[in-house]
Symmetry: C2
Amino acid sequence: MTPLERYLRRLEQRSNLTDEEREGVLALPFDLVSRAARYDLVRPGQRVEAACLVVDGMAGRFEQFGDGGRRTTALYIAGDMCDLHSVAIPTAGWGINALADATIALVPHRALKDVADRYPAVARAFWRDTVVDAAVLSKWVGVLSRLPARERIAHLLCELMVRFDVAGLRAGDRIDLALTQEQVGEMLGISAVHVQRIVRNLRSEGKITTGRGAIRIEDVVALRRMSEFDDQYLLLETHQRM
Amino acid sequence: MTPLERYLRRLEQRSNLTDEEREGVLALPFDLVSRAARYDLVRPGQRVEAACLVVDGMAGRFEQFGDGGRRTTALYIAGDMCDLHSVAIPTAGWGINALADATIALVPHRALKDVADRYPAVARAFWRDTVVDAAVLSKWVGVLSRLPARERIAHLLCELMVRFDVAGLRAGDRIDLALTQEQVGEMLGISAVHVQRIVRNLRSEGKITTGRGAIRIEDVVALRRMSEFDDQYLLLETHQRM
DNA sequence: CGGGCATTTGAAGCTGATCAAAATCAGTGG
DNA sequence: CCACTGATTTTGATCAGCTTCAAATGCCCG
């Protein structure tokens, strides 16, 4: 699957497109780049002229604080356009970082605007895409303010499982979570030490198994129940042409 | 200022519009309704056909969890269109609630789509508006995962002060925070009891004073510093016509 | 084989939750 | 105008979850 085919798949998950519109998306130009883990794709305050489509690996949106400290606030997997919103607002108030080694397709804003102008349905699909992004952020705000550490981690795992599934990326029960426990903690507001204790705990209870940078979900039902996970917020339904 | 003038003001904060486009926005039809505090304007899962523009009072976006428990994840003040995103995705995965007594203008999706179709610049302004909403959510994720209770509250106060300012709603140093301490706690993941202790503390340090449902900011500088507040995430710059 | 990063484990201490109850306040009806 | 009611704020005491600091072990890669 080419980078744009993956992205098209994501768009079509929620928006109906005609053949012509599909072609328009697939014809988007892009530059393919490889970035090592921790590379900053977009720095806060920077003016950007291309959006980052994750082709392989993982990327994250982060907020930077006064003292240079950061927090990852959103997670992007293959097929996600990390910062499609930068088309609407090109002066970044956020940052994008390669969480793991990643391949990224840089898609020029110019081209994205052109295809959106030519095909209004594509423009709406783009808008929808950023709305879904916001819906996930909203859920995370809720999760962080409501659930204790254990449940937060369970919720994250459930979310990723569903997103990998929908994107057609899942191999069995295995999730390729190429994140360090430190990174997970930083995303969920938990210290690395405590993340480790929780992981050990979940493992001892037979809910997950871990190994070589991947996590295997052994008991989805338990994870969903304990974190009150409900995928409604991922807005997975396909919508009418507006 | 009429409801739509307020909203137009918000749009023009970030997007340049022509006279004709302005007229288009101002000509939007709406139903004005009054809702008591705690009224649900939109329930999770509901299919909505109008967006909620806050005319007076406050509204909040909330996430609902398995057991019916809720968390407010975003806050809307006069001039904010709470759920403009519902135009793109009308089946709500979220909820909207009147946090305090509020007057709301219900603007039909149909009319919003029409004006967006007629004026592409308005469509982009709408997109931008939802992107700003997402930017605030992203920041909150960062704040919740990084800052301790005291600093969270300070951050919220700083954000509201800036937003009230930008919307032209601020009277002196006074912020009309018609929220109970319980509500504040529920938004920030802090128990009501602890919110009270922090408020007392901030008061004793001369940073704020409180009274009759309002908060007076006495020492902005201290609040900004302690919460590492930087308004960049509010994306206040005006952008070119795309 | 060695170096560097990630994970793992232990111990001590703090932040903030929870429970319980008193004091204050706003609104209501007599 | 005052007594009554329910909600909100305030205060105290106890306790759990999680952080921090420190150090050991394990793992991957050059």
